[in-house]
């Protein structure tokens, strides 16, 4: 196991690279999902106001 992580001594470089990839490719969708939810909520609120406050 430890041998796998050290990758012949180059573990730092390999894992930093893979970690950045994972980080970016997780953050982007999460961020976009949040943005979408906020937008939906905003639009719902706006249309609620326009319809005169019906629930």
């Amino acid at each position: 196991m430890a041998e796998f992580f050290s990758m012949g001594g180059y573990g730092f470089y390999i894992w930093c690279s893979f970690a950045m990839a994972l980080l970016l490719l997780v953050i982007e969708p999460v961020w976009l999902m949040r943005q979408h939810k906020v937008l939906l909520r905003q639009l719902a609120r706006m249309s609620g106001i326009n319809d005169g406050g019906e629930s």
Partner: protein, 249 residues
């Protein structure tokens, strides 16, 4: 045939397709990524020619570089379609592509830098292909900066689209000039390692292909997610949005 095509160029009819396909693309991306990572670590040799274990970085570096170039070209294609046919959705597509393209470009630079440190000894070497990736990053950022700087959405769309068009025209010239700064010598600077990796075993090739596919599926998912929000934001005054919001809430 032509009629069907333009039917989907309206945000109202394209939105459901975008919305529904996102989970599928994301799921495919995750599956392919897991498969690709497994293949990259467990089916490929420990040493590659003169490179040790660190060569495995290519499994995320090379596909990222490919994606960065593909996404720029596709962004430019949508920009041209938008300028020619004046369809809002095309511009929205181009705008949705840019940040994901920039992300892959950054990833290519980051991983390329780590790879360079291990195999060449320096974090940055002005290697032609990495330098080109850097310029590509500037091209993406320029597109996004121009689009954000203009308030009027129509002008923003078209200005950024023209910029993308000019950019994609210049990209081959930039690539050539960075690769071959000395036109007298017949072989251009090719310090970059991948040229020597071209004739390599199938296990490595397979891993790279799988990772590339994973990136493609991811790109579809991320770009569609962004596109979805852009469509809602831009069309919020229209009937189909109001109706959809009414249905959801």
């Amino acid at each position: 045939m032509a009629i069907n095509w333009f039917k989907y160029s309206s945000p109202a009819s394209f939105y459901p397709i975008v919305d529904k396909s996102i989970p599928w693309f994301m799921g495919a991306a995750i599956v392919l990524a897991i498969a690709g990572l497994y293949l990259s670590f467990f089916t490929t040799p420990d040493v590659l020619q003169d490179q040790k274990q660190y060569y495995r970085i290519i499994f995320i570096h090379v596909p990222a570089a490919w994606m960065s170039m593909w996404l720029y070209i596709i962004m430019a294609i949508w920009a041209v379609i938008g300028l020619v046919f004046n369809t809002r959705l095309s511009f929205m597509m181009a705008t949705a592509l840019a940040p994901t393209g920039a992300l892959f470009t950054f990833l290519a630079l980051w991983t390329g830098s780590f790879w360079g440190k291990t195999s060449w000894g320096t974090w940055w070497d002005w290697d032609p292909r990495l330098t080109f990736e850097l310029i590509l990053l500037f091209l993406f950022i320029g597109y996004m900066a121009l689009h954000t700087a203009i308030d009027d959405p129509r002008r923003a769309d078209r200005a950024a689209a023209l910029l993308a068009l000019v950019g994609v025209f210049c990209v081959p010239i930039i690539y050539y000039s960075v690769q071959c700064p000395d036109p007298n010598s017949l072989n251009c600077r090719a310090l970059h390692q991948t040229s020597s990796l071209r004739s390599i075993e199938s296990s490595i090739l397979t891993s790279m292909m799988v990772m590339t596919l994973a990136y493609w599926m991811y790109s579809f998912a991320a770009v569609f997610m962004r596109l979805r929000s852009i469509m809602l934001e831009r069309e919020k005054g229209s009937d189909w949005v109001k109706e959809m919001i009414g249905r959801i809430s």
